[in-house]
C-alpha cells in the first residue's frame, strides 16, 4: 500500500530475504516469551509486566523498517506481525484472555480496514469483521464468567440481527450511490459537501 521508492528499486530476492528476516525476528520474539513462561517459576504473571508490549512494539517497528527500507512484502509482513504479536500476547495466558486478545486483534484489523479501504463494499466487510470480533468477546464472557446465564448469547444474537440489517441497508446505499456516481470509491463520495 505504501508507495515508496524502494519498491521499484529492490529486486524480488531482496524483498523475499527481508520478509524472511522479519519472520525470523518475530519468531525470536515469540521464543523469548515462550522461554519466559515455561521456565521454572515463570508463570505469566511473574513476567516483567511490560515485556510483551515492548516486544510487540519492537516487532512492529522492525516490520515498518523492513517494509520501508527493504521493501519486504506488505501482506506477508502484516500477517507475520499479527500472528507473532498474537502469540506473544497469549502464550501462557488462560483461555479467556486468549479469546479476548483474538477478539481485540480482529477488531483492530477491522478498524484498520474500515479506515484504510476506499472501496465501499470492503468498508462494509470490515464493519462486519468488527461486529464479529465483538461477538467473540460476548460469547467468551458468557462461557467463562457466566455459564449459567445466556445474556452473552442473547446479545450475540441481537448483534447478528443488526449486522444482517446493516449489511442489507449498507449494500442498498452503496448500490444506489453507484447508480448515481458510477463508483464505489469512498474518496469520491462527496454528496454531503455542504
Amino acid at each position: 500500500m505504501e508507495a515508496t521508492s524502494s519498491v521499484e528499486t529492490r529486486s524480488d530476492f531482496t524483498r523475499f530475504i527481508a520478509t524472511f528476516i522479519y519472520a525470523v525476528i518475530v519468531a525470536a520474539g515469540v521464543a523469548i516469551v515462550f522461554a519466559k513462561t515455561t521456565s521454572p517459576g515463570g508463570a505469566r504473571q511473574m513476567m516483567s509486566i511490560d515485556l510483551d508490549i515492548w516486544l510487540f512494539a519492537g516487532i512492529t517497528v522492525a516490520g515498518i523498517a523492513l517494509r520501508y527500507f527493504f521493501a519486504a512484502y506488505s501482506e506477508a509482513v502484516k500477517v507475520i506481525a499479527c500472528l507473532g504479536g498474537f502469540l506473544i500476547f497469549t502464550i501462557g495466558h488462560d483461555p479467556m484472555t486468549r479469546y479476548l486478545t483474538l477478539s481485540a486483534l480482529l477488531f483492530a484489523i477491522g478498524m484498520y480496514g474500515m479506515v484504510k479501504s476506499r472501496n465501499a463494499v470492503r468498508v462494509l466487510m470490515s464493519i462486519e469483521l468488527m461486529l464479529n470480533a465483538v461477538n467473540i468477546n460476548l460469547i467468551t464472557f458468557a462461557r467463562y464468567v457466566d455459564p449459567a446465564g445466556v445474556k452473552g448469547h442473547l446479545f450475540a444474537i441481537f448483534i447478528l440481527t443488526v449486522a444482517a440489517a446493516e449489511a442489507a441497508v449498507g449494500l442498498a446505499i452503496v448500490l444506489s450511490i453507484y447508480r448515481n456516481l458510477a463508483t464505489v470509491d469512498m474518496d469520491r463520495f462527496n454528496l454531503l459537501r455542504w
Binding site: 480482529l106 479506515v115 442473547l154 458510477a182 464505489v184
Partner: protein, 207 residues
C-alpha cells in the same frame, strides 16, 4: 468400555488450545487478506473463511446455537455481499486505483514522505487500539466460573428470548422489517432509463 465424549476432549486442555491456535491463525491471516487483497471479490470469499473460523471458535466456546446461526446467516449473507460487490466492481475502477497510485509515487520526496505518514495513520490508530485493549484485558481479573455450559442451552436461549428479552426481540424484528423495506426502496431502480446511463459523474461533480 466407555465412549469418549468428543466435546469433552475438545474442551479440555491441549486439544482445545491447539484447535484454538489453528483457528485463530486462520482467522487472522484471512482477515488481513480481507482488508488488503486487491480483488474485492476475493476479499469477500476470504471473509467467509474468517466467519467460518469464528463460528469454529464459538463451537469451542460451547455456543452451538450462535455458531450455527453464524454459519447460516453469513454463508448466505456474505455471499450476497460478494455478489453485489461483483456487480458493482468492474475492472475499470481497479485500473483507476492503480493509476492514481502510480501518480502518487511520482511526487517529490518530501510530499511522498508526508503521504506515507498519512497512510500509516490508520495503522497507528489500530495498533494503539489493540495494545490498549490488550492491556485492559491483561490488567483485569475476572472471576472465572469453572462450570460448563449445559446441553439445554438452546432451550434456555429460547425461553429467555420469549420472556425476559421479548422487548428487544420485538425491536429486532421491527428493525429487520425497517431494514428490509429501506433496502428494497434504496436498491430499487427508479426509472428504466436511469439504470444504464449514470447521471453526471465524479468528473463533472468535482469542480
Amino acid at each position: 468400555m466407555e465412549f469418549v465424549n468428543v466435546q469433552e476432549l475438545v474442551s479440555t486442555g491441549v486439544a482445545e488450545a491447539l484447535a484454538f491456535y489453528f483457528i485463530a491463525a486462520l482467522a487472522i491471516t484471512l482477515s488481513i487478506g480481507v482488508i488488503s487483497d486487491k480483488n474485492v471479490i476475493r476479499a469477500g470469499f476470504l471473509l467467509i473463511g474468517v466467519f467460518g473460523g469464528i463460528s469454529g471458535l464459538f463451537f469451542l466456546l460451547q455456543a452451538q446455537f450462535i455458531a450455527l446461526a453464524q454459519v447460516m446467516i453469513y454463508a448466505v449473507g456474505i455471499t450476497l455481499v460478494v455478489v453485489i460487490a461483483l456487480m458493482l466492481t468492474n475492472p475499470r475502477l481497479q485500473n483507476e486505483e492503480a493509476e492514481e497510485e502510480a501518480i502518487a509515487s511520482s511526487e517529490p520526496a518530501l510530499l511522498k514522505f508526508l503521504d506515507s505518514i498519512r497512510n500509516g495513520f490508520p495503522g497507528l490508530v489500530a495498533w494503539i487500539a489493540f495494545v490498549t485493549v490488550y492491556m485492559a484485558i491483561r490488567s483485569e481479573h475476572w472471576e472465572q466460573s469453572t462450570q460448563t455450559i449445559g446441553e439445554d442451552n438452546i432451550a434456555v436461549i429460547g425461553r429467555a428470548l420469549t420472556t425476559d428479552y421479548s422487548l428487544p426481540f420485538e425491536f429486532a424484528s421491527v428493525l429487520l422489517l425497517a431494514a428490509l423495506i429501506g433496502a428494497i426502496m434504496l436498491a430499487k431502480a427508479e426509472k428504466v432509463e436511469d439504470t444504464d446511463t449514470p447521471r453526471e459523474g465524479i468528473e463533472s461533480g468535482s469542480n
